[in-house]
Symmetry: C2
Subunit: 299 residues, 2 copies
């Protein structure tokens, strides 16, 4: 099996694990359960839980407490997409080749499914205490990272500035602001994923800080690649409307640096992350391959 | 000072405590901080944190760990109002006599401010571990209650069924479904408030269950009173459009039972709650007065 096959295989296994945490579609509130499950199951590369697990494995973590957190980070990522697609935000009808949640279930359910997934993520993450009651301090630390990186000082903060920059016509976005958006909007959840993998494997605080630094580079490379794909992909490859950044008058890394420099930077930033990774002197082969894969992905 | 004055005084003190946890309005994401703070500060009777603290005091809790949870429950309540007011939901421009968050900051910020407040609630609640590191198990239990009662098996679940019942024309809502909505939409957060007060004061599991039962009655009485006020209040008294239930073709407890029976039920359910409360044989005077106040409130 080639690496792409290996990734697909891992993603499928992660999806199966995550599905165990999804709600049963029954009772009066059945619609919201369906909308939540649809949003999570419909696609996704499971990159965040995959990164989390890969770091966890590199630090030789063994407890099952990692699984609720893998589900939680995917739920948080999913909720952010569901709300991002809303008419009041990016107004996208398709994602990953499928109807977005609000396009399928209506706008009110789009709002509520996002709310439900965000809250549910924390309900599930707290199950880690039941799964492994011997490691409370690490779980508490992981919860702190998860909440901080997902909120106003993390992902949501990045989204806010992103939305504001789009909506304000004639706004001149500075490079500093763009970096801020990238670091928070995409970077923060990648950082949380990898940090939580390290924390739950009881890595030292110093190592967790180091992982945060590596993750920040991976997140940046990943986001630049996203901008590149928005310019060069076809609808079929990407499964969502291309050129949506241009449509929304959006300044991106590509509009600042040009397509060639952007491609170079994705590679050099990824290489920096890999060099840092090697300094742990651990079995990091899968993580390294995964970083490279994120660079060469075409959707 | 009469009891109304006492309540106002307590609410003001709670607001001051909560304000300590609000984000500073600075940095690139300043708008979201302003939107969050506006939503929280603009009004509110602080009933949930007040109930939490009252139960905590009745069980003679002493640690400062209660304060982050008081802030958290108010942030969760506030986020639910911010999203409830959105055009895709109830489409309300005013609440508590003030512009709603989306009316003031725009629809995208309305979505994001709600998301931000929900996530921030958990960031703040986790601070309880720093405030009181000697009571981890109680804090973990409190976090579980907070997440569960706020999510699809609690408040959000109730909102979903409520929204669905409104949007579906010709839908015949059953009394069973209405009870479900009330128990979850309003009841769940009141239950969480009071249960967390008991849990953090290290009340026994049996006592926490009992408090849940009492809170469920208080929540129901409170919601029925809300329906009554929607019919009988004036705009000035209520600070938001009256008759909005009728405008939205909404079946309520009042449409099922009539206004007189509804008023009677508010009183008898409140009395049941008070009788149960007395069975603890604790100093419950303030809680009892608070229950009664909730019944006779006129906004």
């Amino acid at each position: 099996m080639d690496f792409k096959g290996e990734i697909a295989d891992k993603a499928a296994k992660i999806t199966k694990k995550i599905e165990l945490y999804l709600p049963k579609e029954e009772g009066f509130q059945k619609t919201i359960f369906s909308a939540m499950n649809y949003s999570v199951i419909v696609g996704g590369k499971r990159i965040r839980p995959m990164l989390m697990k890969a770091v966890y494995d590199m630090f030789e973590g063994t407890s099952e407490a990692i699984y609720p957190f893998m589900a939680a980070i995917e739920f948080i990522h999913t909720y952010s997409l569901v709300h991002d697609d809303l008419p009041a935000m990016d107004n996208d009808e398709y994602r990953r080749g499928q109807k977005t949640t609000h396009a399928k279930f209506g706008e009110a359910m789009g709002v509520l499914a996002g709310d439900a997934l965000l809250n549910y993520a924390y309900e599930i993450a707290l199950k880690a205490f039941e799964v492994d009651s011997s490691n409370k301090d690490a779980i508490i630390k992981a919860l702190k990272v998860l909440t901080q990186k997902s909120g106003v000082y993390g992902m949501v903060g990045g989204q806010v500035v992103d939305v504001e920059s789009e909506k304000t016509s004639n706004s001149v976005i500075t490079r500093e602001k763009l970096d801020f958006i990238y670091r928070l909007k995409t970077g923060a959840l990648i950082e949380a994923s990898m940090m939580i993998g390290a924390i739950l494997a009881n890595a030292s605080d110093k190592d967790v800080d180091y992982i945060e630094k590596i993750a920040s580079k991976v997140g940046l490379a990943f986001q630049i690649q996203d901008d590149i794909l928005d310019v060069v992909s076809t609808f079929e490859e990407l499964g969502k409307p291309i050129g949506s950044d241009e449509k929304n008058n959006k300044e991106t890394y590509v509009t600042f640096e040009g397509i060639d420099k952007s491609k170079e930077d994705v590679q050099s930033i990824t290489n920096e992350a890999i060099d840092l990774l090697h300094s742990f002197n651990k079995n990091d082969k899968f993580l390294e391959d995964l970083f490279v894969y994120l660079v060469y992905r075409n959707k």
